[in-house]
């Protein structure tokens, strides 16, 4: 069964329609890369998956989003529990104004975990999975804001992992990062796919090519085409896809 299913999804910010009749299925343990020009609805769709769009004033949604077969927009659905299962890494690194250690244990603490030993273990594991452990293991009490951009972003990945999600959403995670940090983030993503399902929104088609199993092309709120990465970049079926990938527009 697919991990995530969207059926006839429509989303509006006030009067503006950001996503139109979107239907897509995302498989377990795959990395789905979503590409497309600005304002194509990529980030809107991503934020529908963890219901972060609920925070936007005048946001409206129609259609279904099913995770493991259950509609996450159903009446009475537990949004906090959803966000624990579906983690997010944002475009600009967003460390909370606390130490590295506190950032990572923030999520688990809110879930009720307080045993020091357990938290220590979570911190170590998450940082290792995010390829950051060696760099910060001696200075966990340092304010997170003092890390470099690339390190902050990996911290955010570790932070998201600390709550043991099943799905991780990446919203243009390397937009503020230098190539080396970007490479480290991508390396982490490839390893993470073994345990998690990953949805990656990116403005860099090359990044999608490097990392994804399948690629989806969004244009003006619609899903134009979705295909395995190799075929997508060598033999796209839709002329609009071809146009975007080859740089004719975007």
């Amino acid at each position: 069964m697919s991990k995530i299913v969207a059926r006839e999804l429509n989303a509006w910010y006030d009067k503006k329609c950001a996503v139109k009749s979107l239907s897509i299925e995302i498989n377990k343990n795959e990395i789905l890369g979503i590409i497309g020009p600005a304002n194509s609805g990529k980030t809107t769709f991503l934020r529908c998956l963890n219901r972060l769009n609920d925070l936007e004033p005048h946001f409206r949604i129609e259609g279904n989003v099913l995770i493991d077969g259950r509609d996450i927009y159903a009446k009475g659905a537990d949004v906090d529990a959803l966000r624990k299962r579906v983690g997010m890494v944002f475009a600009l690194p967003l460390p909370l104004p606390m130490s590295i250690y506190e950032n990572i244990v923030y999520g688990p603490r809110r879930q009720g975990i307080s045993a020091r030993q357990k938290l220590d273990g979570i911190v170590e594991n998450s940082l290792k999975e995010a390829y950051l452990w060696d760099e910060v293991k001696d200075r966990l009490d340092m304010p997170a804001m003092k890390l470099s951009g690339g390190q902050q972003q990996r911290l955010c990945i570790a932070r998201a992992l600390a709550v043991e999600p099943e799905i991780i959403l990446f919203d243009e995670p390397s937009s503020g990062l230098d190539p080396i940090s970007t490479a480290k983030v991508e390396e982490a993503m490839l390893k993470l796919k073994e345990k998690y399902t990953i949805v990656l929104v990116t403005n860099h088609t090359k990044q999608a090519a490097r990392v994804s199993d399948r690629v989806a092309f969004f244009l003006m709120g619609e899903l134009v085409e979705i295909a395995p990465t190799a075929r997508m970049f060598t033999n796209p079926r839709d002329p609009r896809t071809e146009g975007y990938i080859s740089g004719k527009f975007g």
Binding site: L52, R83, L92, L94, L96, P97, Y106, G107, R110
Partner: protein, 302 residues
């Protein structure tokens, strides 16, 4: 336009005209105008300084440990103002016990929960109205509701509740400003980790906004400590030979004591009244200064 005039040979009308032109020259006008503006500003600031200086100069001689710690005697012409100091502390303390939770939660409501609805508009209007009610009207309100209707009688309880409602706008407005200043991204990051809305407020937003909220509380304390009209009929006692033992007691308070000794007691030593004024002004200005410093330190951090 700096022509030199040979006043001996040019006719008087021309002299006058050139002089006039020099005065009405835009740069001169500006200099004159700016000087007047500076004068106006000094007219505001200098008297403040003078008031403080006079009070300090004339009140300092009266300040002694005895003055601050003894009970008044000889019809309040001698002894100390201890009960007034203690009464003020108790009253202001009780006031903020009520005002802080209601005020901060109100601000949280406005920032985190209120939508763009008519109700929200009404709440904001109500806060503005509360801020504009004259202090004596608060006194009447406190008398009508707390002293008489609820039967608390003139008491710390009645006075504190009245003052609490009066300083509510101060606390709400500053707390709201502090909460608004917390970046939206912090909230998003917290929620994205599965924290609930209240958890986000409690563990991320509030700690971050704390300095600003504290500033508002200190400003509220400063205000409550100096007010007389709201407490005239709700708590203030003319002369109480003993200290309060419960919230249902009346108390002596500094501002009312100053009013009494400066208007109702004849033949009182000048330094005594100035001393009372000094203690009151000292308390108020010190707390205000603390709030200002805290706020500027906090704003620099952002």
């Amino acid at each position: 336009m700096n022509e030199t005039l040979d006043t001996s040979t040019t006719p008087p009308a021309a002299v006058k005209e050139t002089l006039l032109k020099q005065i009405l020259n835009p740069r001169m006008v500006q200099k004159g105008a700016f000087f007047l503006l500076l004068l106006a500003t000094l007219l505001v600031i200098v008297p403040v300084g003078m008031i403080v200086v006079i009070i300090v100069a004339k009140g300092a001689p009266a300040i002694s440990w005895e003055f601050l710690s003894a009970m008044p005697s000889r019809g309040m012409r001698a002894g100390g103002i201890f009960p007034a100091i203690i009464g003020s502390i108790y009253l202001v303390g009780a006031t903020i016990v009520f005002a802080i939770p209601v005020g901060v939660f109100s601000a949280i409501y406005l920032v985190e929960y209120a939508g763009n609805t008519l109700l929200t508009r009404m709440v904001k209007l109500a806060i503005i109205n509360l801020a504009g009610v004259p202090s004596i009207v608060y006194g009447l309100f406190g008398l009508g509701l707390f002293v008489i209707f609820l039967g608390f009688g003139p008491s710390i309880l009645a006075g504190a509740l009245t003052l609490a409602i009066m300083i509510l706008p101060i606390i709400i407005t500053t707390s709201k400003e502090a909460l608004d200043a917390v970046p939206k991204s912090f909230r998003e990051a917290s929620l994205a980790l599965g924290a609930s809305k209240w958890q986000t407020i409690r563990h991320v937003v509030l700690p971050n906004a704390l300095p600003g909220i504290l500033t508002g509380i200190i400003l509220g304390i400063s205000r409550a400590a100096g007010e007389t009209a709201p407490i005239l009929f709700t708590v203030a006692a003319f002369y109480l030979p003993r200290l309060p033992t419960s919230v249902f007691d009346q108390v002596m308070v500094l501002p009312y004591h100053l009013f009494v000794v400066s208007t109702q007691i004849p033949n009182i030593e000048q330094s005594y009244t100035y001393g009372t004024a000094l203690v009151l002004v000292g308390m108020v200005l010190v707390t205000n200064l603390a709030a200002i410093l805290l706020r500027s330190k906090y704003r620099k951090k952002l």
